[in-house]
Symmetry: C2
Subunit: 110 residues, 2 copies
DNA sequence: AGCTTGGGTTAGTCATGACTTACGGTAAGT
DNA sequence: ACTTACCGTAAGTCATGACTAACCCAAGCT
């Protein structure tokens, strides 16, 4: 759950990213979200369930409505996972650039 | 392509994350990766193709082998996309915490 | 030249999941 | 109590995609 796997696969779906990005502009109910997206209300409900299980979304009951908003938890998990590779990626990039310099100078590479 | 959509959906698959995480510990050829994962070599080849299109991986020819390594581009795209929601998520969290304080004090919420 | 090694591609199968329709359930209004 | 509004769940359909087996291609070696 603190595992980014769920958050990553949750944000892989375009419709689900749409729901998530909609919530980024303010909390909203299921019906409101469905009205602004080209899918039915049950579809939105299912997507919100997955987003909630991924720790990307919070929900609270407000009368008969259910208001959803963004949860920083899932976002943080993805960020932490990404940062794990950030330094490595930069090193690889640096090594690649240096390799190209050598290749340009010697016309060959390791 | 600078769009994080491809990178996100690419990293959604567990096997593909395995390939990517393997490359984080150093560049490797297709056969080497396939030997360390419970999938066939063609499967790895297909995954690498998708990772490459997502800007997450770079490849260079080395004799008859093909060596892959991590590309910072796709990682950066995801990071930029995430940062777009980071401030919003923190605001939501802050608002939620304050709401809970009020709820604890008054036994009710907005 | 042939042989071997390492990879990408294709065809086809199978599972996952996104979606809609129909239904059940709860909270407020009359 | 009945109705209305809002939501979640179940069942079923359909498309996407992950995988393997078989094939083809290129590079190096004898």
């Amino acid at each position: 759950m603190t595992n980014p796997s769920f958050a990553l696969s949750a944000l892989a779906d375009p419709t689900r990213r749409g729901v998530f990005e909609r919530l980024a502009s303010g909390s909203a109910s299921v019906g409101e979200i469905a009205a602004e997206l080209p899918v039915s209300r049950p579809a939105v409900s299912q997507h919100l369930k997955i987003l909630k299980e991924a720790g990307l979304v919070l929900d609270r009951a407000e009368g008969t409505r259910r208001v959803y908003q963004i949860d920083p938890a899932g976002l943080g998990a993805i960020r932490a996972w990404l940062d794990q590779f950030w330094a490595i990626a930069l090193d690889a990039f640096k090594a690649k650039a240096e390799g190209e310099e050598i290749a340009a100078r010697k016309g060959k590479h390791k």
